[in-house]
């Protein structure tokens, strides 16, 4: 009885990959929707403190309404000595000394003003209400935060936000 064929190389059919792009696109769209772009990659170390009931700065407000500045120790240890108390400010991809008597005291107010003036007029809110979000390292001394506040006060940018990590539901 030779109902069963012996040997006779039966070929394994190739896996149909025509739906692979669809799957990948789906993933792509998920990530596009669920994430926000980094505005910059700071060259200072910032380890955020944790807090509760913080206000969410990302989703419904456009990010462009908020200016971020970073305060931390420079990643490059060779540069740490340049800065007062070892902390540096990171604004717009440039390392600046944290406010203080050393030099460049007006860096923040100048930066903020430039940013404000470069916005198209229809997007402009009162400068008082434009949020400046300070992302500072856990162990940064608060005097530096108050130095930043002083500079903001000078140009009437009166809304400041202290960044924390909020793992709550909100």
């Amino acid at each position: 009885m030779s109902k069963f064929r012996k040997g006779g190389g039966r070929e394994v059919p190739g896996v149909n990959t025509s739906s692979l792009p669809d799957i990948v696109f789906m993933l792509l769209f998920f990530f596009m929707v669920a994430t926000t772009t980094k505005e910059s990659d700071p060259t200072v170390k910032v380890e955020r403190p944790v807090g509760l009931k913080a206000t969410d700065m990302t989703p419904y407000k456009q990010r462009s309404e908020i200016d971020f500045l970073y305060l931390g120790e420079p990643r490059n240890p060779a540069r740490a000595a340049e800065f007062k108390l070892g902390y540096a400010l990171f604004l717009d991809n440039v390392l600046q000394p944290a406010a203080g008597e050393l030099y460049n005291t007006n860096a923040i107010s100048r930066w903020k003003k430039d940013k404000f003036e470069s916005k198209p007029p229809r997007m402009k809110e009162k400068i008082e209400n434009v949020i400046t979000c300070v992302k500072a390292d856990k162990s940064a001394p608060t005097i530096l935060i108050f130095d930043i506040r002083d500079q903001l006060e000078k140009i009437d940018a009166l809304t400041v936000a202290y960044a924390v990590e909020d793992n709550g539901v909100f």
Partner: protein, 263 residues
């Protein structure tokens, strides 16, 4: 003419393109949320004279260079207790009636005499105050040589009364209970206090105020504060009138936080 067959487009590289895009987005995006405590820097106004602030209206939270805490003059070990203490600050005299408040003010032995008292403003009184601040503002504006700061101060006062008027309308009752207008939270840190402790204090204060507003929101609107806030942020058309609700809660439990610059 013979029909020319259209060749099929080879889609084999489509997946590669999509992967490339996917990887690009994976690399350039962050999942973490940006959360922060938003605070207003008070504007400096030069005013001829202001009333001295009573000690009972100050909720003073201080931290030193060694990151030790002092809450209203008493050392505090555990920073998690701040929110309870702030709640106490707001709530100590909250449930007194008008007559009880007057009696308590006269009695120096009363246990809550070191906490801010509430005032009870009726709609009529608010209206009256709106009118008087309007006339005061007009008066100041018409005085020649008056300083701009004074005008701004009067303007601010008028705004406050207008906000109260709106709040009283949405509150629905004739009398709007209000914590003393001087009552505030004062965060005093030293130069080398760590940012972590500073934000911890902010977090605790925020928590206390959130809780107070949450109680009130459930009481008045039957909804939690978080839900109202979230909906307000999502819904641009403001169908449920959430803006008005939030304004009322802010008037009932104002977050007056003063951060003192270390010297």
């Amino acid at each position: 003419m013979a029909k020319r067959e259209i060749p099929e487009i080879n889609a084999g590289s489509m997946a590669d393109i999509a992967f490339l895009l996917l990887i690009f987005f994976l690399v350039t995006t962050t999942m973490e949320k940006d959360t922060a405590y938003v605070r207003k820097i008070p504007k400096k106004l030069e005013l001829p004279q202001t009333d001295p602030i009573e000690k009972r209206n100050i909720c003073d939270i201080a931290a030193n260079n060694e990151n030790q805490l002092l809450f209203r003059g008493i050392p505090m070990e555990d920073p998690d207790l701040i929110s309870d203490k702030v709640l106490e600050f707001y709530q100590m005299n909250e449930n007194l009636t008008k007559a009880q408040t007057i009696a308590a003010l006269k009695n120096p032995g009363y246990k809550g005499s070191n906490f801010p008292f509430y005032s009870f403003t009726s709609k009529e009184e608010i209206e009256e105050n709106v009118l008087t601040s309007e006339t005061q503002l007009a008066e100041v504006e018409n005085t020649p040589g008056v300083e701009e700061d004074v005008i701004e101060f009067k303007l601010k006062q008028l705004d406050e009364w207008l906000a109260k008027q709106k709040a009283a309308e949405s509150y629905g009752k004739n009398i709007l209970p209000e914590i003393h207008f001087q009552a505030h939270i004062r965060v005093e840190v030293m130069a080398e206090t760590e940012y972590e402790l500073f934000t911890k204090i902010q977090s605790e204060v925020e928590e206390a105020i959130y809780e107070l507003r949450d109680f009130a929101a459930k009481d008045i609107f039957g909804e939690s504060y978080g839900i109202i806030k979230k909906r307000e942020a999502m819904d641009k058309t403001d169908k449920a009138g959430d803006k008005r609700k939030l304004k009322l809660l802010e008037v009932l439990y104002p977050a007056r936080i003063i951060e003192v610059k270390p010297n």
